[in-house]
Assembly symmetry: C2
Homo-oligomer: 111 residues x 2
DNA sequence: TTGTTAGATCAACTTCAGTTGATCTATGGT
DNA sequence: ACCATAGATCAACTGAAGTTGATCTAACAA
């Protein structure tokens, strides 16, 4: 089922990990899912109903998010619950913070 | 030239603004550019050289980033300097923080 | 004014990500 | 054992996003 395959996300985020997470967030359907998960864990069947998405479509997007390390799954009998990964969100926040830190330096004139 | 067309980015980020910014970040070429700009403002000609990108390719990606509100341009004679927008990075950080806030709620069992 | 350079823009092409419907697997109920 | 349901997976299709080379415009230098 592949539900156990996660990105690692230990220590400070590498550019490539950040990119995977950003990509996992930067899609309208996935953003809906993220917002649904923002208030806590949800099972797939609820998501399908609430967001009015075709089952295979939702499953595809959950996979993208899972493989990026943005969400994780908990299997309970016949149902699967998904939730956002705090470490991913925190990691991305930190990564953005680093970018913001030095971005106001003036340019060396190039002419 | 279109260099003056920016996204607004006042107040808390709307989902759609966040998505544009995320998309602007979630590309390998653009991520290179972002990292080059992380240490401060740079002119396009420097970027082209340092990142070894075709001129039209870089210009395309700068446009995407500009229209998303991720970067802004400063025209100086024949040269154009780009820099990351603090408000965009801060806004995105805040947006992520909101997501992280409630994401650990347990699921309502759906069976 | 002519020539050169920086960088935006355009059109044609290519590539990859998302969609759809069908099928497959596992779990639980009868 | 049989059936129903949750959700993953697959193959075919579609469309949007990125690439490439050419052209266009504006600024400066001679």
């Amino acid at each position: 089922m592949g539900v156990g395959r996660y990105a690692e996300l230990v220590g400070p985020l590498e550019a490539d990990q950040a990119r995977q997470l950003l990509k996992a967030l930067a899609d309208p359907v996935r953003l809906q899912v993220v917002q649904a998960l923002a208030s806590g864990e949800r099972c797939v069947c609820d998501l399908t109903g609430d967001l009015d998405l075709a089952q295979s479509k939702l499953s595809f997007h959950l996979k993208v998010m899972r493989e990026a390390g943005l969400i994780e799954a908990r299997v309970e009998g016949r149902w699967i619950y998904y939730r956002l990964r705090r470490d991913a969100l925190d990691g991305l926040q930190g990564w953005l913070g680093e970018l913001a830190a030095g971005c106001s330096e003036p340019a060396a004139p190039c002419g």
